[in-house]
């Protein structure tokens, strides 16, 4: 077994017993032992009550009946009749359990199988459980004493020695059972603790390695497909997610290093150059261009942070139910004028209502980016088309243009930060628009598909639709 990786405090390390007592395994085993002892006692008690107790109650009943019959015999006859009856009963007693004794007022034994009257049993109408000497052998009897009217005394009882030994047997069983349970529990405690530790040690090991900065570690699965494996899977999924986020951060810093340094260098050069010119007019122009350049850099900076924010999943807290159709109609309204101005046909086809759960602002920005691109890349006279439909369990928002499109081999790369397709190099833009759209799609558990619209590009955002309140598909209505 691998030793635990996290070192316990020194005072505990020196006292292994304390550590054992504090371990979860030991606590579990102790609880188990308590339950075991309780159930042993309960079981023994019930067993006793239902066997020995039952026999006791039956004995009492028999003795009581006997006493009744004998006292009746006395009333109709005399002492000799009772003595005869007793002798007869003793002779017929096959179980060898009966105890009888009849004495006259002087205490002389008239009949029965006891040598003398037991000293302790002197009150009339009482039950006693006493050690006796019966037929010369020491035993224990449960007896009932009755004073007859002429001063004679009758004692009737049963030998209960065997019953007592049965009781002792049950008590012993409970006692030893308890002892055994405690021993088993202690063993179990050590065993469970070892088992738990052998399963938890790899988790602790992984956590420690990650704590030291090595994110490649994963918790190994035992293959048993049990709770621990599931915990390990959950932890691994979490670590994968953290890995992806870390990778994202690294990518962003690379991108910033690469793509923000260029405009910064340009800006710096321009300002330095204008400083040397000495002409106030050109100085002013340089400063104005510098500010414009800075605004561009700030925009890129904003967009990068926004993408990172979305990718971190932090915006999921802003998810709410809203009508996507209304949001898209708003976007269409905002961009319709721009499309008109550029001489484009702007064709909008939206359902009357399209329930969606997500981040309204983010979806709006994603669609706005797609419309921005579509209008920017389509030549005057062309058409831009915005559609939204619900296909069963999916909601699809498509923006199609008649621009140059994106060649298939570049489609995978245009969603990367700062990547700009060949055809777009001449147009203004940061190369972050589609990266943001992609991030928004992923935030909503959907994806961005880029296809050839022949001619042009069709960008489709596909999302899983929210659970439908009403399954009926709303009829399509043209809204422009």
């Amino acid at each position: 077994m691998t030793p635990p990786l996290t070192l316990p405090p020194p005072d505990e390390a020196e006292r292994p017993l304390l550590r054992l007592v504090r371990s979860t395994g030991f606590k579990l085993a102790a609880l188990h032992a308590v339950l075991l002892v309780l159930s042993a006692i309960t079981l023994g008690g019930f067993f006793w009550w239902s066997t020995a107790g039952y026999l006791n109650r039956q004995t009492d009943q028999t003795v009581r009946t006997d006493v009744l019959l004998l006292s009746a015999r006395w009333r109709e006859d005399d002492q000799t009749a009772i003595a005869r009856a007793i002798a007869q009963r003793l002779a017929e007693d096959a179980d060898d359990e009966a105890i009888y004794l009849l004495t006259d007022p002087a205490g002389t034994v008239l009949a029965g199988n006891l040598d003398r009257w037991p000293g302790a049993a002197n009150a009339e109408g009482q039950w006693y459980e006493l050690p006796l000497v019966r037929a010369g052998a020491a035993t224990v009897g449960r007896i009932y004493v009755l004073d007859l009217p002429d001063g004679a005394r009758l004692l009737v009882g049963r030998d209960v020695k065997q019953r007592l030994s049965l009781r002792e047997l049950v008590a012993d069983a409970v006692l030893y059972g308890t002892g055994l349970a405690v021993v088993l529990a202690a063993l179990g405690g050590v065993l469970v603790r070892r088992l738990l530790q052998s399963r938890l040690a790899p988790v602790a090991e992984t956590a420690t390695a990650i704590g030291h900065g090595d994110l490649s570690h994963r918790v190994p699965l035992s293959g048993a497909d049990d709770d621990f494996d599931r915990l390990a899977e959950t932890l691994n999924a979490m670590l994968d997610r953290i890995g992806v986020l870390m990778e994202g951060v690294r990518e962003v810093s690379n991108a910033i290093a690469h793509d923000l340094r260029t405009p910064l260098a340009r800006l710096r050069g321009r300002l330095e150059e204008s400083l040397g010119s000495g002409d106030p007019a050109s100085l002013r122009v340089a400063v104005e261009r510098g500010i414009a350049e800075l605004d561009g850099i700030i925009g890129v900076f904003h967009a990068l942070l926004r993408i990172a924010e979305i990718e971190a999943g932090a915006r999921r807290s802003a998810f709410a139910a809203f009508d996507l159709a209304a949001v898209l109609a708003d976007a269409a309204d905002l961009y319709g004028a721009a499309a008109d101005e550029r001489g484009l046909v702007f064709d909008v086809s939206l359902p009357q209502a399209l329930p969606m759960v997500g981040d309204r602002d983010m979806l709006l920005q994603a669609v706005a980016n797609l419309l921005d691109n579509a209008i920017k890349f389509t030549a005057p006279g062309g058409a831009v088309r915005l559609t939204a439909v619900r296909h069963g369990a999916e909601v699809a928002i498509a923006v199609a243009d008649q621009g140059p499109g994106i060649p298939p081999e570049e489609r995978g790369r245009v969603v990367e930060r700062f990547y700009r397709a060949e055809a777009s190099r001449g147009t203004p833009g940061s190369g972050l628009g589609l990266a943001l759209v992609q991030a928004v799609a992923q935030l909503h558990g959907g994806m961005l598909q880029l296809e050839d619209a022949g001619p042009g590009l069709r960008a489709t955002l596909v999302f899983p639709a929210p659970e439908p309140q009403v399954d009926a598909e709303p009829p399509l209505a043209a809204v422009v």
Binding site: I298, E309, A314, R315, A318, A337, D361, K376
Partner: protein, 226 residues
Amino acid sequence: MRILLVEDDKDVARFVMKGLKESGHIVDHADQGRDGLFLAASEQYDVIVLDRMLPGGMDGLRLLETLRATGAKVPVLFLSALAQVDERVKGLKAGGDDYLTKPFAFTELLARVEALGRRGRSEGPVTRLSVADLEMDLLARSVKRDGKAIDLQPREFRLLEFLIRHAGQVVTRTMLLEAVWDYHFDPQTNVIDVHVSRLRQKLDRGFSFPLIHTVRNAGYMLRAEP
């Protein structure tokens, strides 16, 4: 207007104060939260410009929450480097009226401050707005210029309403996007310009003088004089 600026960065504070004073405003400055709260609670201001991260144990959010708890209704503009959407929401929830993220253009700050100061003075709901020969009936949703009815789309109506309510003030593109379209991001193309130019065509074409003016490097202004 009397403006309180609570900002710990000396350069930003100096630059904002200089700009606001040049625009004819009186500016007080506090460089930490407690002083800011003291000034805000003891003096009468038309607008407070408040940084979020402040030294002195009291940040902008706490300052504003404390101030609002005393019943002060003075308009507050947050000026913060915390640009995430959630941060913006936090600022507005704490009682802020507007939120501007750093870095910012001074024209944007000035336009927003003046818009807030104006809003503080308006009394009760109005049903009619007018500037020069332009009249807007908010109930009938009709617009007339020089007695002639002008037909506007609903969105154009809202755009014009915002411009009239801020007549004589610079209104930036971002302010229009936020107020008229409820957008909180910058579109890459200048979609707002297209809408304003359409509105301008309907409003100004065929009349003796233009009402909508473009303010270079800032935005737009609706005013009567040329």
